[in-house]
Amino acid sequence: MTANNIIELKNIDVTFHNGDQTVKAVQAVDLTIEKGDIYGIIGYSGAGKSTLVRVINLLQTPTNGTVTVNGQQLQQLAPAALRQARQKISMIFQHFNLMKSRTVLGNVEYPLLSQKISQAARQQKALQLLKLVGLADYAQTYPARLSGGQKQRVAIARALASDPEVLISDEATSALDPKTTKSILALLKKLNQDLGLTIVLITHEMQVIKSICHNVAVMDAGQIVERGRVAQVFTAPQAPLTVDFVETSTNVKAAIERITNTIDLAGLAANQELMYFNFIGNATKEGIISQYSQQYQLDVNILFANIDQIDGENVGYMIAIITGDLAAFNPAIAKRVADGVKTKIITTENGLEGLA
């Protein structure tokens, strides 16, 4: 391993035995995460994401494989050393796992109880974290009296209390409204930038991946089927599952379905075409639409567009009806594939498969 890899999972298998059935929840997974990274994990429900991240701090003992965190192979540590190591790896659980006998403040204070820190300092730190997650008013409330999202935020605050080096978050924003999600993500990003906190983050919200992750792994049936820089995975997805996710998350698929269902394709004029554009990187910088509109006297009616930046790169999806000199336009735009522009004429093919 290089000194920079804070997490190294090698050839991890996790097999569950349900009576006579066996479930291979994780199969032959290698995962290396650099210090300071924000690493997203996505995948279908039941793919093995939670099981995999639970291996990182050995809450789940793998059936096979080695777990190295911070240069220590966890399986070889004595119990006390493992506990020491775990104090640097915080976890936000999918089901929160708050202690119902402690107040919100008490829950956040918990990881600090075994640290050499005065009670006043401990309380102050916990309160400050509660402020950050917007729950300062609830310090003395017990978890049973919180809403779902409030519980989740307490779990987030608790995970941050021990100044971890690694934060494992299992859908930590799934119960939060968009605004609160955004503020939590901003908090995590800040901790990542200021303190070098490494974050491993399971999520179902592609927006979360896009907005804070640098790398992402895609899991399917216990295996990682694709991984890499977020921009790369989102712009050039390879595995069918990834393609599916990206399209679902950009709403492209839904839009094509809707448009082909509502627009009478046969009814388009001869000089009209329904087209799907996909721009990556610099392609957008130059304003293709306006450029070609002028050059070929085209009318471009955008029915759907999703143009945004992912991890610093521009990525765009657009569906439009083009009216005008198509005979010239089509070959012209085809030339720009090298710049990252892909097109597809939907009018004739009525689908997207070919492009993916």
Partner: protein, 223 residues
């Protein structure tokens, strides 16, 4: 009054003393049995398969030991541990001497109850504590005993009431107490008013334990 409870009137001081003896036996043995029972109960929970210190051999020994102690009829227990009683309190009869068999009679029972109570502590929460690097002793004191407290209080109520019942049998070794009055004076001599009044005082004790226990359980429960 005198007509209703003719024998009781003349035994007022005996009743007061018996009540004190019962209180002494019950709470004296309860305190020590609580410590032993909690320790054993916790030990059972943490060593059982899937526990935080899972250890098949230790669990199996503790489990069998608990049942062993629970299998000995109380009267026999009185005799079997009388050397220990003599060693500890210098005598084998009397109120103080009865504490020893009472403790041994009740603590294995309490340990089982504690074990059952702690089994209901949410495993996810124990896991969360483990993930935060809590040591076994921290998990025991900060998670099991804290999260399980309402249930522990509830089983403690059941146990103390059972213990009060057990004190009524300690008359065999001269413990005195309300049970002894009820049985060897009231019952054996057909002085029903004595039995009735002694039982009523026991009832008041039982009610007090239940009410205080319920109140405590409610106070520490945050559902």
């Amino acid at each position: 009054m005198a007509a209703l409870i003719p024998n009781v009137i003349s035994m007022k001081s005996e009743f007061i003393q018996a009540t004190l003896e019962t209180l002494y036996m019950t709470f004296g043995s309860a305190i020590i049995a609580a410590v032993l029972g909690l320790a054993l109960g916790v030990w059972l929970v943490v060593t059982q398969p899937g526990g935080i210190l899972a250890d098949r051999v230790t669990y199996s020994i503790l489990d069998k030991l608990t049942n062993l102690l629970r299998s000995v009829p109380f009267i026999i227990l009185l005799a079997v541990i009388s050397p220990l009683t003599n060693f500890l309190v210098g005598t084998t009869v009397g109120t103080t001497a009865s504490l020893v068999p009472l403790i041994f009679g009740i603590f294995p029972f309490y340990a089982r109850q504690v074990q059952n109570a702690l089994l209901d502590v949410d495993h996810g929460v124990v896991e969360a504590a483990e993930s935060m690097g809590s040591s076994p002793s921290e998990i025991i004191f900060r998670v099991y005993l804290k999260e399980g407290l309402p249930d522990i209080i509830r089983v403690s109520i059941v146990t103390v009431i059972s213990l009060i019942g057990l004190t009524t049998m300690a008359g065999a070794i001269g413990s005195g107490g309300l049970g002894d009055i009820a049985i060897s004076i009231g019952y054996a001599r057909f002085e029903n008013d004595i039995t009735l009044v002694a039982t009523l005082i026991i009832l008041i004790l039982v009610f007090a334990v239940q009410i205080i226990g319920d109140w405590l359980a409610k106070k520490v429960e945050h559902n």
